[in-house]
Amino acid sequence: MLSVFATILAGFAASFGFFHSAAQGPNALPILTCFIAVPVLAALGIMAAPEKWIRWISLFAASVELGIGVKLFVIFQTAAGGFQFVEEVPWLKSFGINYILGVDGMSALMVFLVAAVYFAGTLISWNISLRVREYYVLFSLLVGGVAGAYESLDLFFFFLFYEFAVLPMYLLVGVWGSGRKEYAAMKLTLMLLAGSAFMLVGFIAMYFTSGVHTFDIRILGDLSKTGFNLEFQKIWFPLLFLGFGVISAVFPFHTWSPDGYGSAPTAASMLHAGVLKSLGGYSIIRVALPAMPDGAKYWLPLLVSLSLINMIYAAIVALKQKDFKYVIAYSSVSHCGAILFGICTLQAAGLNGAIIQTLSHGIVAAMTFALVGLVYGKAHTRELAKLGGLSAVMPVLGGLFVAAAMANVGLPGLSGFVGEFLIFVGAYKSGYHGGFPIFQTLFPIAIMTIVFTAIYYLRLVQMVFYGPLKDPHLKDEVKDGSYIEILPIAFLLAIALWVGLYPKPFVDMSNATIAPLIDRIGGFK
């Protein structure tokens, strides 16, 4: 136990030491590149290291990463706004490709999220025993890919890092998964990459149509420089929305998500649900909205119905599931629907809500998946019919699960509430479209989701943790979570509480991105 804490502290100390003056000075380490390099270097180190060091290297890297994530969060200047810590290296001049990294308020939040989930996921994976080395290599590479995708300001690198993250996911699900793992892995990979096929063609079409011949997101997001006409925007906005939407499991392309998460090993589903899935909504706000605002205004009132189906349909499906993990997986689909719904409102409140909900969903989904994984590991089944009364044998995990469920439901005081509240405010404030107040009409239906969410989570808590212990053998066999299992979940819960109780710094940061965006593109009038 002592050595675990010592490693974590050493990781923090290392990252704070290195980046003490990172914000200033010309010779400081490039903090954003380091954020990508740490997990990648960890992967290389793990390949070469002796067997018994593997976990420690991974934990150390995750702690360094968390240190960088916190540091970025702290030194990001919210008042100044805009992209900060920008690193720019010319890459391929003839094709307008540059290696550009930078964070604004929104991506600084996401970077923090990546670091937090990586840290928690590493601890949760502590007891993996099958093909340990390969597991940690792939896990670290996955984090490196996601981190790069959130920091890239060049579409080439954005795409490269994103798909780089999908590939390890295939092997993580295929090798370390459970159930129909090979089917799920293939489905997940193919559906995500099919979505990205449209993304790639869209990116290149933007490159050539704009006439500025660059993949720089900052320039492509400025209509006065690109001058995409309405025709182009009408064709490409919905295709990009759906391409990005697949990552966020937009209906009807959501089917990879329950199967994928149902089969994935715990830490992989934490990372995928927590951070990779959020990339969909994030990139709509980052790429599609600023580049094609008129296309957005033309299509979003229609596309909102997809996100509404996501919310309601997934919630209802979650009610009927027989597998513990599938309930959580559908819950995640439903929450991503809320994120997309918030984006569709095109209001400052709605978009801020979407970002806070992304952050919250990342933390809470990671926490819930971690708990499911632990319960599965101890009770050896995920079938709801066979589970029951587990609080008697694992009171701490039971308590934590209740907290996680409440955060999912959106209980005030926990992070879920802030995001959903803002989203609904945005929907209420959103204007008319074609003379019809479409969002005001739809948002009562959307609010119904909260009711369904409450029902299925309470049902879950009741079926799994309360009542008499169904399997009496468990009484002697099962112990409550050990400190190394509880630590990551408590850590995530602390963040969820922080966001829930004092959301101001988070909302301010996301508003640093959203306010100028809304100023520029305008919402529905």
């Binding site: 193919l190 096929a197 063609v201």
Partner: protein, 488 residues
């Protein structure tokens, strides 16, 4: 005064081939044959060095405005394009020779010297084709390449599959060569010249005639066979499956590269006239789309990995053809870069395939189970090379497709790029089947598979090149760009 320098790479190849045949005469029947392998290897290396020498020991044509050396009244010209493609072909030949070393350990042949010599003759044909500026030279080089390939495909005399492959390849190949030659004869009749650039001048002055269109279709059909574009692709899976594995590898890279060289010289230079250009561009758009769709769909049910690679190579030819539609420096740069990337990905995969079937005696995909345990390096090579072919980042196939489809979109072929991307995802399905066996499934027989140090080095080289060019394509892109600038 003949400038021998221009065809020095071919002289090296041909004289090495003859040397091998002579040395074999003086070897006693029981002696070690690896000497012959090494002669072939060194000869090809020498040829590669002359290519680098021709480019002045610096990236292709780095002296701006310098005139490319030429011979025989300009019938052969070693310009940047030719040198880049020669480099690809010779690198492919080198790795093919390495695969041959391993292949002959399993399939002892009484005629190793002939095999090596014919392989080098074939490579010399491919190499000469890249610098041909005139249709007769082009045709002769092409036939040197293909006739040697017929022999090589059917080289395993006692093997039924190899015989079938050779016979099929010979019959269809001879037929397509005849069609091609027929087309050429019409163009000669129309223009009165065999020099490609003069043909262009003459055709540009003529009004559009149905005869020219007819000849054009014949040429497209004849050449499309050589690079196995659908619907002229039927021979590919059978030949790829039946031919000795080194030959399959050679056909898939060197032969295809030479075919694209002929395409670029003929169509971009010779037939790029207002009357004909829309016709062949339209034809190629259809052929490319058909190859991408058919190649990828038919690869899915395959159980034999060489057959699967055959269909995959049809799809790859389709992808490269999308770049072929984007006439201009950008399209050519994309094609050259992709060929370079394709070389390492395909050759790495075929080397791995040969090593595995040497050990297991099987070419079935299901027998690749558990490579992560039996030989981790082969597992990694299959992962990296096959996913690079599928175009998944961060591997080089991804950046290659980015430029290919980018150049197609620049010319307005967005639909074709979309077809290419969507079917790249389809292709991922069958590539992942191999990866799944190799990295996920447990082995049926967990005895380790050994690789020799040289093989290991080449496998690692393929992985390193493929990963590096995915992240950092700049050096080869710059090289391809200067090479492409030589014909515009």
């Amino acid at each position: 005064m003949i400038n021998y320098q221009v065809f020095a790479p071919e002289i090296w190849l041909v004289s090495t081939a003859i040397l091998i045949l002579v040395v074999e005469l003086f070897q006693s029947p029981g002696s070690k044959r690896s000497l012959l392998n090494w002669i072939a290897f060194l000869g090809t290396l020498g040829s590669l060095l002359t290519v680098i020498g021709l480019s002045g020991w610096c990236p292709m044509g780095c002296v701006p405005g310098s005139v490319a050396p030429q011979a025989f009244n300009g019938f052969l010209k070693a310009d940047g394009l030719a040198l880049f493609l020669k480099m690809v072909i010779l690198l492919a030949t080198l790795i093919t020779l390495l695969i041959t070393f391993r292949y002959f350990k399993t399939h002892a042949s009484p005629y190793p010297a002939e095999f090596l010599a014919i392989l080098l003759f074939s490579a010399s044909g491919a190499s000469a084709l890249t610098s041909a500026q005139e249709i007769i030279t082009l045709y002769i080089s092409l036939e040197t390449l293909t006739i040697s390939s017929y022999l090589l495909a059917s080289f395993m005399k006692k093997d039924k599959g190899s015989n079938e492959a050779g016979m099929k390849y010979l019959l269809l190949g001879a037929f397509s060569s005849a069609i091609l030659l027929f087309g050429f004869s019409y163009f000669y009749g129309l223009t009165g010249t065999t020099v490609i650039s003069d043909m262009a001048k003459s055709l540009a002055m003529q009004p559009s005639s149905p005869l020219a269109v007819f000849a054009l279709i014949l040429v497209v059909g004849g050449l499309a066979f050589k690079i196995s574009l659908a619907p002229f692709h039927m021979w590919t899976p059978d030949v790829y499956e039946g031919a000795p594995t080194p030959i399959t590898a050679f056909l898939s890279v060197a032969s295809k590269t030479a075919g694209f060289a002929a395409f670029i010289r003929l169509f971009w230079v010779g037939l790029n006239v207002p009357a004909l250009q829309p016709v062949w561009v339209g034809l190629f758009a259809v052929l490319a789309a058909a190859s991408i769709v058919l190649g990828n769909l038919e690869a899915i049910p395959q159980k034999n990995i060489k057959r699967m690679m055959g269909y995959s190579s049809i799809a790859q030819a389709g992808y490269i053809s999308t770049g072929f539609l984007a006439i201009g420096p950008m399209g050519l740069t994309a094609i050259l870069f992709y060929l370079f990337v394709y070389l390492f990905a395909n050759m790495g995969a075929f080397l791995a395939i040969t090593i595995v079937s040497h050990k297991t005696g099987s070419e079935q995909i299901e027998d690749y189970a558990g490579m992560w345990k039996r030989s981790p390096i082969i597992g990694v090579v299959l992962l990296v090379c096959l996913l690079s072919l599928a175009g998944v980042p961060p591997f080089a196939g991804f950046s290659g497709k980015w430029y290919l489809f980018g150049s197609a979109i620049a010319k307005g072929y967005t639909w074709l790029a979309l077809v290419g991307m969507v079917f790249s995802v389809v292709s991922l399905y069958y590539y992942l089947q191999v990866v799944r066996q190799a990295l996920i499934s447990d082995p049926k027989d967990s005895s380790p598979i050994e690789t020799s140090p040289l093989e290991k080095a080449v496998l690692i080289l393929c992985v390193v090149v493929t990963v590096t060019l995915g992240f950092w394509p700049t050096p080869i892109m710059d090289l391809a760009q200067t090479a492409a600038a030589s014909i515009f």
